[in-house]
Subunit: 428 residues, 2 copies
């Protein structure tokens, strides 16, 4: 039983200041909910003497993480540094000293979820990480508690705000990728080196965490198919819209009989899909449960205060248990290693855009090749590009990825004179 | 510490069978998460001998609730009867005998939330009720835990599936209210006596629960403004769509400085609103938190399995605590009584539809009266109805409800020859 729960923050960037401000603004109501005071005792930063636009009591900042890890009074360590090392070592040390851990470190969790949850539970300590996926949107908590009665088969998510902002810009303002990326960088939605977001790695980390927490599956980051949005053109976005679709960077985690699919790639969503209108920098995660059906969680996927809100939610949960002397009470997480299904086995409809010179002849030839590979066509549209060329836009019925790939090779090799401009998977 | 957690169900209708099936299908994974077996020991029903299409072990069914309430082995009582009495007495008895309670009883909670949560916490017992609002969609859990760091100022919800189904039918198929209601009844979405859904009472109960759990505010059902959808015409739905809006039965709970607003009424939502596409029998709840911004929870708001999923989520949480010998750990809920803001003080844009004979003269006169009451017009459209009459459709800028009411009385009294056909509040 505790009257004051002491917190130490490792890192004081965007998320740290967001968590600090969230606690400061709601100190009283948080104390009431917890039944004890929640106090940030120390904050470890690289430059403790740097001027900051936030008022801290003297002595709170330190340049030495050990001032937190070695302080027996500190109950909860919030690891807000990111990256695998030294965060991994700090978390391990925190556990060894009997401290509970809150983290938003998606890379670390994606790569070591099984290990770190195992360490925490072996020592009877909390490891919570609501802020690692979809910022402030409650997803990890509901998946592990409210939905615990369900077998969860599939999770899809728009879990990267930067790429969603860029795709929204391209769609709404008719911009091309480079232009939308520059604007995202100017507005602070994208970093100077945007590769982690734009190439889909950030989303892949988050989908791996969701696969672990939601599907109970452990798999390796190396086996995740990750495809970014830099190849998406304004033209495909316009064609998709005309056909009733929007293009999103969608993460999928799906449990099959003996395999798991974890993949991140541009995906066409029909406008009737509940996630089709998740625009700008918003995130959404849709979970398919055996009893509950489809449930969606939507909100701000990043930003200091939303992510700070997630950190403080985790802190409140741990602090409440400490205040009443209860051990960690989250339902147990068991991870089963499962091989990743080869991408070639995925079955879904496909969007194909082809540049052609002679439409009737090419269409007949393309349809023939697709048919030879068991792929049937759902709809066709044609567009004039200039006096010399035209484009054929096809949406297929659900087909195996391998059949589509084989058909494309054959189309390109067969002298049909059709240039494949884009291949985009379609969510049914 | 327990190796088997025993559950008793009071009631075995839709929700009870949904909870039973959810447990049956996921028995193993639930046991793994909890760290103990979860077993439904007894089920109390009015007619234990009636033939049922579900296989139960002999001796599970009983006609006497006391067989559950008096059984010292039963740890958790799931009250799935509904209505205030005898449910209220059963819950009290369960608490007196040291049993945790899970309930989906929205009427009881709306009317007695403060009392029953107080009783539970005074005895160190869980009272969980995820299934009472939005069926299987996790809302109560995230509000009380993941979002616990936030001050929550506003919650809006589409929390009644029946009326949402009817409004969607009217909008999609051009049906009138009576026709859509009949179809809802035929499909089992509406009851033979549909008043509780159609008049908004069911939604009002749920908004009161959300006001309690989310805003920490206690208020009386008698003071909640509740307006149903039976007055909505197909014509208003078409006009709304032409103006870029959809009509939903929206519940609002908002905390002001010294008052609270809790109200349920048809509301026009712009298509850009994240809740505008919540169609059919789906539910959604949007929460505005001080740090997190707007977060939305979306999914099936009713049905045996979704609500059963919510019940089992609550059961898993309690069972987990019992398995490791921990007391109830949810953050504490403190309710502050606040008076309800008079409806006349509400400020929002309004939609007005008027039948008129002579358009230019009437429009000038109506605009004059509105202006006299400080109401300015945002947009105007006109429609011919037949050779004798036309309609004027106005959307105002945000205005006080009392100003609109006063203006309407004056318009009707002033001999302007404008018949007010509809007044609908607009969500900004």
């Amino acid at each position: 039983m505790k009257e004051i729960v002491h917190i130490g923050l490792l890192g004081f960037g965007n998320v740290g200041t967001g968590a600090y401000r969230t606690l400061q603004e709601n100190r009283e109501s948080i104390a009431q909910k917890v039944g004890a005071e929640v106090r940030i005792k120390r904050i470890a930063v690289a430059h403790p003497d740097r001027q900051r636009d936030i008022d801290l009591e003297p002595g709170v900042l330190t340049g030495d993480p050990d001032d937190i890890l070695n302080d027996p009074e500190i109950d909860i360590v919030c690891e807000l540094i990111g990256g695998v090392q030294p965060a991994r070592t700090y978390i391990q040390t925190a556990f060894e000293r009997g401290k509970h851990v809150v983290t938003c470190n998606k890379e670390l969790l994606a790569k070591h979820l099984g290990e770190v949850t195992q360490e925490a539970s072996a020592r009877g300590l909390f490891l919570l990480f609501e802020g690692a996926v979809a910022g402030g949107v409650p997803v990890i908590g509901p998946l592990t508690t409210s939905l615990a009665g369900n077998r969860i088969d599939k999770i899809v998510g728009i879990v990267n705000g930067t790429t969603n902002f860029i795709l929204t810009k391209m769609s709404r303002d008719g911009q091309e990728f480079d232009q939308a990326l520059s604007e995202a960088q100017r507005l602070g939605y994208a970093e100077a080196d945007p590769s982690s977001d734009v190439e889909g790695w950030d989303a892949a980390y988050k989908m791996l965490i969701l696969a672990g927490v939601g599907l109970g599956v452990e798999t390796s980051i190396d086996t995740v198919h990750t495809e970014g949005i830099s190849g998406i053109t304004g033209r495909d976005i316009v064609y998709a819209r005309d056909l009733g679709y929007t293009i999103k960077l969608l993460g999928t985690a799906r449990r099959n009989a003996d395999t798991v699919e974890v993949r991140v790639h541009p995906t066409m969503l029909p406008y009737s899909h509940p996630m089709a209108r998740v625009d700008d920098a918003y995130n959404a995660v849709m979970v398919s449960g055996s009893s509950v059906g489809n449930v969606m969680f939507y909100g701000s996927g990043a930003g200091p205060l939303p992510t700070g809100s997630a950190v403080m939610g985790d802190v409140v949960e741990i602090a409440r248990n400490l205040a009443i002397g209860a051990p960690p009470t989250r339902p147990r997480l068991t991870l089963t290693p499962l091989p990743v299904a080869p991408l070639s086995d995925i079955v879904c409809p496909f969007y194909l855009r082809m540049t052609v010179a002679d439409r009737p002849r090419v269409l007949a030839a393309v349809a023939g090749v697709l048919g030879d590979h068991g792929v049937s066509i759902h709809s066709v549209a044609q567009r004039d590009v200039d006096e010399n060329g035209a484009e054929i836009i096809l949406i297929t019925h659900p087909a195996r990825e391998s059949s589509i790939r084989d058909a494309i090779i054959e189309i390109e090799d067969a002298g049909i004179d059709a240039g494949i401009g884009a291949v985009i998977r379609v969510e049914g």
